[in-house]
């Protein structure tokens, strides 16, 4: 072969102008029931925002000839698995990516079938925003309530109710307002701060990317317009420093005297801000020490914040390992082996009191026994049933647990990262539940006896 260029490797050219980067990332998920048109909506967002490539459109056209009688099916863009295309359903969470000059988007397309609620929890747990699709002809159905309740349970800060298939109800403002009123009936019982209603047609593209000529009575933004501008900067918790230790960094490098004694604690900051020279408490040891250095690959920094990944070097040699947590002296967390939580059960083998699991919380895995099923939530009525015998797959309920070692935690409403856990079945290692902790009844005492200062 002939390669005219010398084969030596080139440094990249950093002087060259680079296109403006999107300012931040918005993660959102779409949920609705089987034929609400979720995948079509995502296909439409990608298609109209010109995020689709020619070969993707060609592939759509190819499959249209085979399965769709010549009609392009935008849902085929996200339904990637063989069984999904064959059955015309979405089995699992599909992730899609697109960007506009204002923002970069990560979409989790989560299926609507009742048996796949666990996938909705998977797709929604990291979302800033949830889109609940409603078929304008059907209005609010049990699935709409279920998805909205899960979005609320997961404390997703922003909700969009996309009233789809408006073309099939003659673009009736009255129908739109009826559906809005149906939602507003149960929204006050939920914990969602920001809700937006948008009338649209995913199939035809009305109010998805471009404003619709059919809704002169609607003065709000298009769906994409809203996604581009919704305020998400305050979605991270910057109060109360938390660093769950993932890994102890010990170079053990005898050749380099500076690194010979280096001992750093690596992790992703799960809350708050940390500064060089500040006091921190190492838990569960309960020892107060000082931050000597915040080490990063790009050089030491004076301060770091959630959700940055850092390596913290402490002034004193304290007992800290994977599963320990470094915290700031303000906004103290709880530490307990008696836990109270809401869970979404995700496994066909139901939950009964007395069962033992592994519980993974931050970077810490402990054994846990479920001591009590407090209640089960009926997601259609939002009423609770006290002391159920069992929680089955897709049930949401409140439980009490006891762990083999205390864990250091916050209420989920305060901090999604230090207030969440998963349960893992022993033996099969299946992830069986997503848990959201209630606020601690008491916080760790800052005047612990063993202080090193």
């Amino acid at each position: 072969m002939s390669v005219s260029q010398p084969t030596e490797l080139r440094q990249t050219n950093s002087e060259a102008p680079r296109p403006a980067l999107p300012v931040d990332i918005l993660r959102f998920n779409t949920c609705g029931s089987v034929d609400d048109g979720k995948s079509t909506l995502i296909g439409r967002l990608l298609y109209d925002s010109k995020s689709l490539m020619e070969d993707q459109i060609e592939a759509l056209e190819r499959s249209a000839d085979i399965t769709g009688g010549g009609q392009i099916n935008l849902a085929n863009l996200t339904d990637g698995l063989r069984a999904e295309r064959e059955q015309g359903i979405t089995i699992d969470v599909a992730y899609r990516y697109f960007a506009t000059p204002r923002r970069k988007f990560i979409i989790a397309d989560t299926p609507g079938h009742v048996q796949y609620t666990r996938n909705m929890v998977t797709g929604a747990s990291t979302a800033n925003l949830s889109i609940v699709l409603v078929d304008a002809r059907l209005g609010v159905i049990e699935q709409s309530r279920r998805h909205t309740a899960i979005a609320s349970l997961l404390r997703i800060p922003h909700l969009v109710v996309a009233v789809n298939k408006m073309d099939l109800v003659g673009w009736s403002e009255q129908r739109f307002l009826e559906i809005r009123a149906q939602f507003e009936e149960f929204l006050p019982r939920l914990d969602i701060k920001d809700v937006k209603f948008i009338p649209l047609s995913a199939l035809n593209g009305d109010n998805v990317v471009d404003p619709s000529p059919h809704t002169p009575w609607y003065s709000g933004p298009t769906l994409l317009g809203h996604l581009e501008t919704v305020h998400i900067a305050s979605d991270w918790n910057l109060q109360g420093f938390r660093l769950p230790v993932q890994w102890v960094n010990r170079p053990n490098n005898p050749k380099n005297p500076e690194l010979h004694d280096f001992r750093g604690f690596s992790g992703q900051i799960a809350g708050g801000i940390v500064r060089t020279g500040q006091k921190v408490i190492a838990l569960p040891a309960g020892i107060v020490t000082t931050v000597k250095q915040i080490w990063t690959y790009d050089g030491p920094v004076q301060e770091a914040f959630c959700p940055q990944s850092v390596t913290v070097v402490l002034e004193h040699d304290v007992d800290v390992s994977r599963g320990s947590m470094l915290i700031g002296p303000d906004h103290l967390p709880g530490a307990s082996n008696e836990l109270h939580a809401e869970v979404c059960w995700m496994h066909p083998r139901g939950l009964q009191a007395g069962r033992k699991y592994f519980l993974k919380h931050t970077t810490h895995t402990v054994q846990a026994v479920v001591t009590e099923l407090v209640h089960k939530l009926n997601v259609s009525t939002l009423e609770t049933e006290a002391a159920p015998a069992e929680l089955n797959v897709n049930d949401i309920g409140e439980i009490k647990l006891r762990t083999s070692k205390p864990i250091v935690f916050d209420g989920y409403g305060i901090n999604r990262l230090t207030g969440s856990f998963i349960l893992i079945e022993q033996g099969t290692n299946a992830t069986v539940a997503a848990g959201m902790l209630m606020p601690p009844r008491e916080v760790v005492k800052s005047e612990h006896g063993d202080y090193v200062i």
């Binding site: 490797l9 998977t122 080490w295 969440s420």
Partner: protein
């Protein structure tokens, strides 16, 4: 004045570093799949960011099909050495000689044969986790795969039975013989990768940049002329100014005509691109479910 704001690359970076450290914390014998391609180049930088000043606590593993671009292997070997890492290379040729990988009659492509070679390497070194550079934007089956992708004792992926992945709590628990594939770049796009290469001033193999090369027209694409499948007399062979957008084997990697000589040129080219990255890979075009089928059989 600190703004406590991360841009999108910093977000993706901290997510990926967190995942790398979870691997180091949860697995006994992890490995990092390093091919020398652009995605795995980013993985190595992320490993440095996750684990320095200590050594990167896992060896690098590459399955060499024997059909690699020579520039890629040269880069792979040199980069591993620069980082002070241990590079393990297992060759499809050796796997064929040992009867681990069995080619079908007339099968020239080494794509399928990578699978048994990789699985044999995992067994040989008893790796319980392999970090790979796959991204969800590459392909529809990958779009459904978790960060921590569980493989049974045959190395198989079961897309219908994936572990729910909630918040940033990854379940890495395994029984003996089972294996995890972990993809820290899951949420990255092709554009993110190049922007990261630019921001971090990372070196990449020269074939990503424009060069002159003899190419042969096959299956609607320009493929590099090589000795493995030499051009037939009736085939259209030309000398073109090209680069590669994604690197697979030399017999299946489409060349794109391009004048891009810097990372900035490549970023501008991708921003204006009208076909996806994998549109230039013949191995993914063979059927709509080509990638899904290979992953179910134990592919990366």
């Amino acid at each position: 004045m600190q703004s406590y704001h991360l841009d999108h690359l910093q977000h993706l970076e901290t997510e990926a570093i967190h995942i790398m450290r979870e691997v180091a914390g949860e697995f006994e014998r992890p490995a990092l799949l390093f091919s020398g391609g652009k995605d795995s180049i980013c993985l190595l930088r992320l490993a440095e960011k996750a684990f320095r000043p200590a050594d990167i606590p896992m060896p690098f593993l590459n399955v060499d099909t024997g059909h690699h671009f020579p520039e890629l292997n040269e880069f792979r070997d040199r980069r591993a050495k620069e980082l002070g890492g241990k590079l393990i290379v297992r060759k499809v040729e050796d796997a064929i000689a040992q009867g681990i990988a069995v080619p079908a009659p007339g099968e020239v492509s080494r794509n399928r044969l990578q699978i048994p070679t990789l699985l044999a390497a995992i067994e040989e070194f008893r790796f319980d986790c392999c970090i790979g550079g796959a991204r969800r934007d590459e392909e529809k089956a990958r779009a459904k795969e978790r960060f921590f992708s569980f493989r049974d004792s045959f190395g198989q992926w079961d897309p219908k039975n994936q572990r729910p992945e909630i918040w940033n709590l990854y379940n890495g628990r395994l029984n003996p013989g089972e294996n995890m594939r972990v993809f820290p770049l899951s949420n990255w796009t092709e554009m993110d990768v190049w922007e990261y290469i630019q921001r971090e001033k990372l070196e990449v193999p020269s074939i990503y940049f424009s060069h002159t090369r003899k190419a042969v027209r096959r299956g609607g694409q320009w493929l590099p002329v090589s000795d493995i499948v030499p051009p037939k007399p009736n085939e259209d062979v030309r000398e073109l100014v090209v680069r590669v957008r994604t690197i697979g084997d030399i017999i299946s990697t489409g060349l794109v005509e391009s004048p891009a000589t810097t990372t900035a040129d490549i970023i501008a080219e991708i921003a204006a691109a009208r076909v996806t990255e994998r549109g230039s890979r013949a191995d993914d075009k063979s059927s709509e479910a080509a990638m899904e089928d290979r992953k179910k059989a134990g592919y990366f």
